[in-house]
Amino acid sequence: MLEVRNLHTKVDGKAILKGIDLSVKAGEVHAIMGPNGSGKSTLTQVLAGREDYEVTEGEVLYKGRDLLEMAPEIRAREGIFVAFQYPVEIPGVNNSYFLRTALNTIRRHKGLEDIDAFDFLEMIKTHMSDIGMDPGMLDRSVNEGFSGGEKKRNEILQMSLLRPDLTILDETDSGLDIDALKIVAAGVNRFRQPDKAIVVITHYQRLLDYIEPDFVHVLWNGQIVKSGQKELAFELEERGYDWLREAALNGGR
């Protein structure tokens, strides 16, 4: 589904990603772990299509097509979804209206009819009860005045509503207490299906207790310095990131 090959990027002239290789197939869950400043956020932003990130080398294929050529909204319509680390507030824009507009935009792209307000309401309420969200959140402005946990749930709600093929969860665990973390993880796990791929980006191992990855990659200084299976995450939890520095300096992978 996603093929990242030798990806290099610069932000404000500074090299951040220095040759990323990553291959994600349908049905797989990949975790990308790394310390602050390793390039995790940059990778998310580049995949989502943020303009400020200049790709200097390499390529990214999504479903066999050149992802970097696609505008951000096209990527979204083609099935890429990013659950943001810091979802923005949009004052005055009704959450329900926003969700329905997004859904209909994507439905139209797929050649489906718009869903009307009544059917939508029924659909969204089911999704909300699945992740323990108060239906009152529909009538509020998008993310405005939401607590950290509510914002993250609103992201997961959008994921389950929009049914993307490739979901990127960017530090979804940050700022969540353990109960909220479990609910969010359960929402993601319900979404694990043979035709869907999920990339979990996280600093800490604890989210992976609830969302079990098939593969774990360690990002350090703009490169994936180690890949493995879920056991790698436990090793990182025990030993921290420092031991990898040496591995990286020795050119190991």
């Binding site: 989502a48 909204e73 979804f81 005055g92 926003f98 507009t101 935009t105």
Partner: protein, 491 residues
Amino acid sequence: MDTINQKDTRQMSENEMIEELSNREYKYGFETTIEMDVIPKGLNEDVIRLISEKKNEPEFMLEWRLNAYRHWKTMDFPPWANLKIDPIDFQDIIYYAAPKKKEKLQSLDQVDEELLNTFDRLGIPLLEQKRLAGVAVDAVFDSVSVATTFREKLGKLGIVFCSFNEALLEHPDLVRKYLGSVVPYRDNFFATLNSAVFSDGTFVYIPKGVECPMELSSYFRINTANIGQFERTLIVAEEGSSVSYLEGCTAPMRDTNQLHAAVVELVALDNAKIKYSTIQNWYPGDKNGKGGIYNFVTKRGLCKGRNSHISWTQVETGSAITWKYPSCILRGDNSVGEFYSVALTTNYQQADTGTKMIHLGKNTSSTIISKGISAGHSNNSYRGLVRMTKGANNARNFSQCDSLLIGNQCGAHTFPYLEVENNSTSVEHEATTSKIGEDQLFYLQQRGLSMEDAVSMIVNGFCKEVFRELPMEFAVEAQKLLEIKLEGSVG
């Protein structure tokens, strides 16, 4: 006086067609071909006498006009607004142009077909079978009102809804009693000019205890080149009555500026309520700032009676220059004044708009919500005065002025003025200026919305507090209008 036959824009050359398409965001830019009665350019006492004579006005009206004109000659163009205005040659303007009437109309079916078509194209059908349900319309074309719908039905309730000129002929005492009682003819440069030369407009009278059962509206259309449109609207709501009124405006695209200087006076007596909404979409000029309407308007409401209530809602999207401050004089105790405004400027448009809330009575309260959106090279200023006079015990005001900037070359300015002469009053003012957030745009794009849809969603959210004050069907229209205006202003 001469008759001119105007150019038919439907037979355009290729270049004109391309021009038309490149300006597609203004879809009301067409011109109507119709035989017009036009007086020569220029302004003097004879012109004023001629206008008055054409309209068979009562003597008092002519005197009032001449007094205004003599006073106007002593006045100077107001220099204080945050606007760049090229000098206006008041002798280079046509002060009266009206479609030629064949004979006196017996019914709307006899209105010239070209005029009916014009208003059809503007989305304002005038014929009985096509009318907007629940909205009565007074259609003003250049200097005169050409049709007023639902007059008879409203008449059964004692409501007068007609052109200003008809009101002068049929209800001269009512007009005389209230004309100039809120905006005197000496008020300001543009209002005084209007008092001298105004040619028509709308008159509304709601009798005691009557709740007007439908929206009343005026639709102003400027058609003739070089004409200035000067209309007057006077709305009187007697004790315990209520009315909701809406005005819309458009004009053809031309590369010279045209002047529109209107006066609106509202009078609300005890327990009366007037809600006045405007969707202003005059031609704003082209992308480079050439042409467009100069919109210099004086609007003021007098809350004369106890518990009276006047509410202004405006969505200002058109005009090259907007200079307008719909205001409330809160004279009756417990009276309420409100001002809700969205002003959008794009390209080279300039707006200096806001309100005045003058608190005279006890326990009076006012609310000001202003949303300014600037894009392109435009300049958008909010200017508002809140005045608490000595007698305004326990009066309250709340003001909120928010500005949203799209791009780096536009400007937003806020000029709040406070004059408090009474310690028991409370005045709150909040102001914010923000740039449309790249993070917000990106968030919406990541959910599949195009850049333009994302901008319009954010802008509509920003304006929500104002839009919800508009009558339902116009709120939808206002949202669409903003979407169209914002096309191409981002990215």
